[in-house]
């Protein structure tokens, strides 16, 4: 996104007119990215056990609604409003989307569209965190966490990287085309923080906890990949050659990530798995997110492959270091995000970036250094602030479900539903309605 100047609406309206081609593509891209969050819900939902699949789906699905409200009230203004202080945060000029009408432009597209496109990024970033705390989170605490996290963590980082005069892009000069820092590293580091606040699932490292439905995982990965073309291709904010290059890079890196992960599994474990293929594609897509608009196709292929291989090892770290990042938000999104953001320093080409070049393309080590500083700053900020938010919520209302709720299953205990009601005896809540319920009977839940 660095290559397209994001102008203040008034200035933009004066210097550039609306481009209907750009606008048409971004309208479509926004719809593509919106679909990624339900896709993520299925991707995560398939990975958990049958007793908490609905809870897992709902944590993503509800994030769509929560983040939208926060974004329109304050998030957009603080992230993309005029810089208020030293490239750290935007001003309050557009609270409640004030002053933005159908004619207001950002670059060559309506600001209403730009803000909606950015909103879909914020949604999925919040939803991604839920994978680190699967199967044990108190749902009401999640409803509090998501809005607070969006305002205190996502919004500032988005401003640093993509906002007008944000310090990472403008003072430091680090590149992040579609969200390696803002989406992947932010969600990964935040996932680690909340996983540490909540502690491991009961039975972590003892029980197998295998994914209950790999078909759902593959369906989710497919929807994510589909939506990712809008995520990365749309980040050019234009219907042009850069968007096309980003789109191709996104396809390539997903493929090499998939193959890299399967290769490791075949060599290490003796059998390539469906779960590995889905995870590998996502790892490659994560890594190409920051780099898709800054590297040429060969660079994208290497970045995807590196992510597929490294992440296939990184997902086992949690067992050695004893943090229960249940669905590998750290192992895939954090690690993949770091790989993709750093490798820009090696593979950036002037044709793509419009200036900065990587080490392998004659640009020296300067860009690599900038990328590393950005990674460390974003990882540290997002981890520390999220850890603090998590601790405060845990102190005030409890962030974790009770052990009985967790062991019985969050679907039944928190939502009064079950995803699969196969039993003939009807264990779940979906019983035949009784015509005249006797309300004098003991109503305390049988446990």
């Amino acid at each position: 996104m660095q290559t397209v100047p994001i102008l203040a609406p008034q200035a933009a309206a004066q210097t550039a007119g609306l481009d209907s081609g750009d606008t048409a593509w971004l309208l479509a891209a926004t719809a593509l990215v919106l679909l990624m969050t339900p896709g993520l819900a299925l991707f995560y939902g398939g990975m958990v056990r049958t007793k908490s699949v609905l809870n897992m789906l709902l944590m993503s699905f509800v994030s769509i609604a929560l983040v939208t409200v926060v974004w329109l009230v304050a998030g957009y203004s603080l992230a993309f409003g005029d810089d208020a202080f030293a490239g750290l945060i935007g001003d309050a000029g557009h609270l409640g989307m004030a002053g933005i009408g159908p004619d207001t432009l950002t670059g060559t597209v309506p600001t209403l569209l730009f803000s909606t496109f950015q909103l879909t990024f914020a949604m999925i970033t919040a939803a991604l965190i839920s994978g680190a705390i699967a199967d044990r989170t108190k749902f009401t605490a999640w409803l509090v966490f998501v809005p607070v996290w969006t305002l205190l963590v996502y919004v500032p980082v988005a401003h640093w990287v993509w906002g007008p005069d944000g310090w990472i892009a403008h003072s430091l000069g680090a590149l992040d085309f579609a969200g390696g820092l803002v989406v992947e590293i932010a969600s990964g580091a935040s996932g680690l923080a909340v996983a540490l606040v909540l502690g491991p699932r009961i039975g972590f490292k003892k029980d197998a906890m295998r994914p209950h439905s790999l078909p759902l995982v593959v369906l989710g990965a497919g929807l994510l990949w589909f939506g990712w073309l809008g995520f990365n291709g749309g980040s050019a904010l234009a219907a042009d050659g850069l968007a096309a290059a980003a789109l191709l890079n996104t396809v390539v890196a997903g493929c090499t990530g998939l193959l890299g992960w399967l290769f490791v599994e075949q060599r290490r474990d003796g059998h390539p798995t469906t779960f590995g293929a889905a995870s590998g594609a996502v790892a490659g897509l994560v890594a190409i997110t920051p780099s898709c608009g800054t590297v040429a196709m060969p660079g994208a292929a290497v970045i995807g492959l590196a992510a597929g291989v490294v992440c296939s090892y990184a997902v086992a770290w949690k067992f050695r270091l004893h943090y229960d990042d249940s669905l590998d938000v750290v192992g895939v999104h954090f690690v993949g995000g770091v790989i993709g953001t750093l490798l820009i320093g090696l593979f950036a080409t002037a044709a793509m970036t419009g200036g900065p070049r990587g080490l392998l393309y004659g640009g020296g080590a300067a860009q690599l250094g900038k990328q590393a500083v950005a990674v460390v700053c974003v990882a540290a900020y997002t981890f520390l602030v999220t850890y603090a938010i998590g601790k405060v919520i845990h102190r005030l209302m409890g962030f974790r479900a009770s052990s009985e709720e967790e062991m019985t299953g969050l679907d039944q205990t928190l939502h009064a539903e079950t995803a699969y009601d196969h039993g003939v005896l009807g264990h779940g809540a979906a019983q035949t309605p009784s015509p005249a319920p006797d309300r004098t009977k003991d109503r305390s839940p049988a446990e």
Partner: protein, 112 residues
Amino acid sequence: MKLITAVVKPHRLDEVKTALQELGVHGLTVTEASGYGRQRGHTEVYRGAEYRVDLVPKVRIEVVVEDTEADAVIDTVVRAARTGKIGDGKVWAVPVDSVVRVRTGERGPDAL
């Protein structure tokens, strides 16, 4: 020999299993079960309608032990399964005439 049957809350299964292993019980059988006791199920509200849930999910744990061990096993199961809340379940024992180990044909206590 005695057959000890325990019907307990599903989420206490791990505790009971661990406690029995520590006591030295060699084998057990677990079945998912449904039922009600004195609590008689409960009502739930879902999507605005009220439902009567008579059969509550439980697990049934069965162990065959020698007569001398029966009391210790029962005490262990009760201790491990108890939460103190409604619906903790029941444990009972019945005499067993004969037991055969299928693989070797051993009979009686030797087959346990």
